[in-house]
């Protein structure tokens, strides 16, 4: 009960932030009802997906300060579990999604235990390595469709199918995801003020001090890693139902892992709104750059060049992200 109350308790946030958040929520709620293009709606769905990924990453990467660049493997586990269970045994999303979470979290414990003995660069590269190992296995494993991947054929179902999350119109996906999005925020809000959340921030600051306060640093990291994994896996499951065609190269590539970390970093790692701000800026930017420039003959790659330049400018000029700017302005005002 107390946990639930804490999840809804935003009282430590400035009133201005909450007003803006409420305004954005209202905008997101009504967005599909406005006369917007299908492309805009699809972009918004991507925005939700990546802000959720980013929120998950934010627990271990932002609050915990562990540079995890291997989240794509859990996108893969979630997406593949849901797809395989659906096309082979017709098990609907709401059952396959928790199974995916269990598998992903189990895997995260198995590799998390040795992984968190590493620090700094070693840790970051090791997370990439584990993710690539899983991707390589999936690329040859016939049971999961190998490199061709798997497809969910929507013809076999009668949309709108709320049990299997098979819809014809994106607006259904939009609202289902919107609910996930709100739950994700509430969970993150609970997490950051939970015992583990506070302990994690102490760990990020100084591991020796954290240990002196009775915190089992290794175990706390593994637990948080599992929480981050669960977020990613749930959204991975959803992602499979949404795009209906998955292959290792798309769902499990390093680019996805990096993009996930980038959301949180751009918005501000270790802050409640950071990943949402990050995804809100980066996803529309990426998708519209591609729309405008990606298809132009002779300009292939131009969109990604601009995107790369943006990443570089952020990491050089504002490594603490948009939220870093907000906090700096606020602290200056106070004094």
């Amino acid at each position: 009960m107390e946990a639930l109350k804490n999840a809804f308790d935003f009282s430590d946030q400035p009133r201005l932030d909450l007003t803006i958040a409420a305004g954005v929520a209202l905008f997101l709620l009504t967005f599909p009802l406005l006369p917007v293009s299908a492309f805009a709606l699809a972009t918004m769905i991507q925005f939700f997906i990546f802000s959720l990924y980013g929120m998950g990453w934010n627990t271990i990467g932002g609050y915990g300060g562990q540079v995890d660049l291997g989240k794509a493997q859990y996108v893969g586990i979630g997406a593949y579990t849901t797809t395989i269970l659906l096309i082979r045994w017709d098990i609907p999303f709401w059952f396959s999604m928790p199974i995916g979470v269990v598998l992903a979290v189990t895997w995260s414990f198995i590799i998390g235990y040795p992984l968190f003995r590493l620090k700094g660069h070693y840790f970051a590269i090791a997370t990439i390595a584990t993710s690539l190992v899983l991707k390589d296995i999936f690329e040859v494993w016939e049971f999961v469709g190998a490199a061709r991947g798997l497809e969910i054929s929507p013809i076999e179902y009668t949309p709108p199918d709320f049990l299997r999350l098979i819809f014809k119109e994106d607006i259904y996906y939009y609202y289902v995801l919107f609910v996930f999005f709100l739950v994700g925020i509430l969970y993150l809000n609970w997490f950051r003020k939970s015992r583990l959340g506070y302990q994690l921030r102490a760990i990020k600051d100084n591991e020796d001090v954290a240990r002196s306060l009775g915190i089992n640093v290794h175990w706390a990291k593994i637990k948080t890693y599992a929480i981050a994994t669960a977020y990613v896996s749930v959204v991975g499951s959803f992602h499979a139902c949404y795009i209906k065609a998955i292959e290792p190269e798309d769902t499990m590539s390093l680019d996805i892992s990096i993009l996930i970390a980038l959301m949180a970093m751009l918005g501000g790692a270790g802050s409640l709104w950071g990943p949402i701000i990050g995804a809100g800026i980066l996803i529309p930017l990426k998708s519209y750059l591609k729309e405008w420039l990606g298809g132009v003959a002779g300009l292939t790659g131009m969109d990604l060049i601009l995107y790369a330049v943006i990443i570089m400018v952020i990491s050089a000029k504002e490594p603490r992200g948009v939220w870093g700017i907000v906090e700096r302005v606020r602290r200056r005002k106070q004094t």
Partner: protein, 304 residues
Amino acid sequence: MEILASSIVAGLLFGMVLALVALGLTIIFGVMDIINFAHGEFLMFGMYTALLTSQALGIDPLLTLPLAALVGFLLGIVCYRGFITYILRGPMIAQLLGTFGLMLLLRNIALLVFGSEDRAVHQGLLVDKSFEMGLGIIVPATKLAGAGLSVVAFIGVWLLMTKTRMGKALTATALNPQGARYMGISTEKMNALAWGIGGASVTVAGALIVNFWPVNPYVGLLFTMIAFAIVALGGFGSVPGAFAAALVVGLITEIPGFWDFLTYTLEMDWMYDVPMTSFKYMWIYVAYFIIMVVRPRGLFGWKH
């Protein structure tokens, strides 16, 4: 037996080339404690440099090595002065993502300029020639030359680092930046130099690799990861360690060959069914992971 012997030879030869690939990364890491995601993209530019100049001038790709080195040196310095110096003081995540941005930038510039198709060297003095080494081992001449020249280049850079004034200053900066500063060595200059030398050695490696490996704008990531693994196994910042680790990684890439050997020797039916070739590079990551966990300082590490 032939399979085993040729796998070992092929692995060691490839390992020698990989040593040169990893050399630049380990120098850069040793001097300034930063991981460069764009390392493989430098290699890719080396490959394109060799391929395109040799085609344009109608000469053998191996003759373009000095040009490739120059391109790499300039590219390294431009990247350092124009970008890396600004992220050095930032948090680690900003460094990682920053160099990832650099990687995307270089990759997509290549895509824009060179297009996405695979290109390979079809003409040259050594192309399609091979050597019998006895024991039934046949080695393509391009790989043999690549390995030999890699070792020469590796030793050259190693001598440059240990015997010349400039190299010693660089090594001093790696060991103790503050002390080096007191001796009047400019850290900024040394960092730029490390990027120059690091860039040059990896583009030369690229120019060698392109003789037996087709190039496209996406080729870099695999080599970046291989270089990470080598540098980690050898101990971050250790040059001799990188060479030894590269040979190990070279042998790891030949695991499918060893597997075939075992399959034929043991005549186990199930072993035929394992698509080991598809896992060729996975073993590098597995090895990295296991060695890091068991021996976090790397196999031959000297710097923490």
